[in-house]
């Protein structure tokens, strides 16, 4: 019953790189649609053998504690870490940003992350749902004006190490970071219909 991305008009998907969306939990469908619009061929990834077939991976928004737990239970965490270490391009939004942080604050004590960016991320840093907001965000590497930032119980980046580059800030807090082949945003471009950040990521996959 989960037919996806019916609104896509793309028929030339065969040319795009195969990009997975980690589909343990979260807003998977929106990322599949955004990736299609950005010229990629998207796939859901829930198993190690599915991970092996993709050239890049999006880790969606969702509940990071749930994703982390399921990744451990279903034997995906180590394969994910290995692929990221080996240079597979990865893009994480919100919970996905948390999953890509080498260190997190305000997480559960047993919460595992994949890591990949030398940064410390604070969970739910912008507050609870009543504080969730949207705002315009300038993002380095994304041309054509600010992106619409949708921040939902969003994390922010407390600090980054030497290898990581800050791409955007909001209200003095870092909300977009890139370290080589790994990209992360606190906000959710997949909810906006503006596919420029996904296009940036698909370019990263193409040139990897």
């Amino acid at each position: 019953m989960t037919t996806s991305s019916t609104s896509s008009t793309s028929t030339s998907a065969s040319a795009g790189p195969v990009v997975g969306v980690l589909a343990l939990q979260g807003d998977v469908r929106e990322h599949l649609a955004a990736l299609t619009a950005a010229g990629a061929t998207p796939r859901q990834v829930r198993r190690p053998e599915e991970l092996a077939e993709v050239a890049g991976l999006v880790i969606p928004g969702g509940e990071s504690t749930t994703m982390s737990k399921l990744a451990v239970v279903f034997g995906l965490l180590e394969p994910l870490r290995e692929r990221v270490r080996a240079g597979m391009p990865v893009y994480g939004t919100c919970a996905g940003m948390i999953m890509l942080a080498d260190k997190i604050l305000d997480g559960r004590d047993d919460q595992e992350t994949i890591g990949g960016i030398d940064m410390i991320v604070r969970r739910n840093a912008f507050g609870r749902q009543n504080e969730s907001f949207e705002a315009q965000v300038e993002m380095r590497g994304v041309e054509g004006g600010p992106v619409e930032g949708v921040f939902i119980r969003a994390p922010w980046v407390e600090s980054v190490g030497g290898g990581a580059e800050v791409l955007a800030t909001f209200d003095g807090h870092t909300v977009a970071v890139r370290q080589g082949h790994v990209l992360a945003t606190s906000f959710h471009p997949e909810l906006t219909g503006d596919h420029r950040v996904h296009a940036l990521f698909v370019d990263m996959v193409r040139s990897a």
Partner: protein, 306 residues
């Protein structure tokens, strides 16, 4: 950065409580399980098991049924205790049409308000105006017209009503099939027919036309009411629910921690019978359950709300 943007907008005042932020919150819950809990300890068990959110309430629906009387919003102390116990989102229930209970829940900082038929309705004509809140609402529905009326009132998430507190999934199946079936039927109508269809299901034309065009509700659709096993959760997902609420099914069972984790696994791998089989092993006793056809009309929660 090679471009000079026209704005210094990164310091522009952020907009809270927008439809996109409210509906977007529900999008983040997809593929997940939301569990009813009555104590901070239960909330922790749910979080440990991988719940995407918890529903804080004083009594699970099975006990509300047993106890009878008027069921109301929970004690703020109890809700705050749960908010402080876990890091995942916390939802709480207001009575249908009791917008002051909803105001109180918003002031407590709950992440979602369930305007719920499980509590005793406070207004037999009107539901709360959900647009006037910053906190998003989820509402139950038994059919497409009801779902779209709730969305018109501002609901940012819909769940099937099912028959809460019975441990019997039959009504949730009925409601989800009804909603999905009506959406499929709208897809087959031409533009001329949509006006009459809107009138027939008593829903705003604009929403009916949107559903006919997109083939889905404009908000996330979960299932609730009677899910008690991993297979129940997977069934609802295969029928088209984007996630599940589990009420009495977990903490009225023999081994709540194990059952909760099992339902989470089956909800993610809803289309993989092997995973569901493994998740279903040795869970201990499920909640006893009630046959819905023996329930008198006055005890059917699904008929509350209009």
């Amino acid at each position: 950065m090679s471009i000079t943007p026209a704005s210094t907008s990164n310091s522009e005042a952020p907009a809270t409580g927008t439809a996109r932020v409210k509906r977007g919150m529900a999008e983040q819950l997809k593929g997940g399980v939301i569990m009813d809990v009555v104590t901070p300890e239960q909330a922790k068990v749910a979080e440990d098991a991988g719940a995407v959110a918890v529903m804080a309430l004083e009594r699970v629906p099975a006990d509300i049924r047993k106890d009878g009387g008027v069921a109301r919003m929970s004690d703020p102390d109890m809700i705050e205790g749960i908010i402080n116990a876990v890091s995942i989102p916390v939802m709480a229930k207001s009575r249908i049409g009791h917008f002051v209970e909803a105001q109180v829940l918003q002031s407590l900082g709950v992440d979602y308000i369930d305007e719920s038929e499980v509590l005793t309705p406070a207004d037999e004509v009107n539901h709360s105006d959900k647009w006037s809140f910053t906190t998003p609402f989820v509402c139950g529905a038994t059919n497409l017209g009801e779902a779209l009326r709730r969305i018109a009132e501002g609901a940012a998430m819909i769940r099937s009503k099912g028959e809460a507190g019975t441990g019997n999934v039959v009504e949730a199946v009925r409601h989800l099939r009804q909603i999905k079936g009506e959406i499929a039927r709208l897809r087959g109508l031409d533009n001329h027919e949509l006006y009459a269809a809107a009138k027939e299901i008593r829903a705003p034309y604009e929403l009916v036309a949107e559903v006919a065009r997109t083939g889905k509700l404009p908000v996330v659709l979960f299932s609730a009411g009677g899910v008690a096993t991993p297979a129940d959760a997977a069934l609802m997902r295969q029928l088209g629910a984007e996630g599940v609420f589990v009420g009495s099914g977990i903490f009225k069972s023999g081994d709540p921690a194990k059952r909760a984790a099992a339902i989470v696994k089956a909800t993610t791998f809803y289309d993989d019978p092997k995973v569901i089989a493994d998740a279903s092993r040795n869970l201990g006793e499920a909640m006893v359950g009630i046959n819905c056809d023996t329930l008198p009309e006055s005890e059917r929660y699904a008929s509350r709300g209009w």
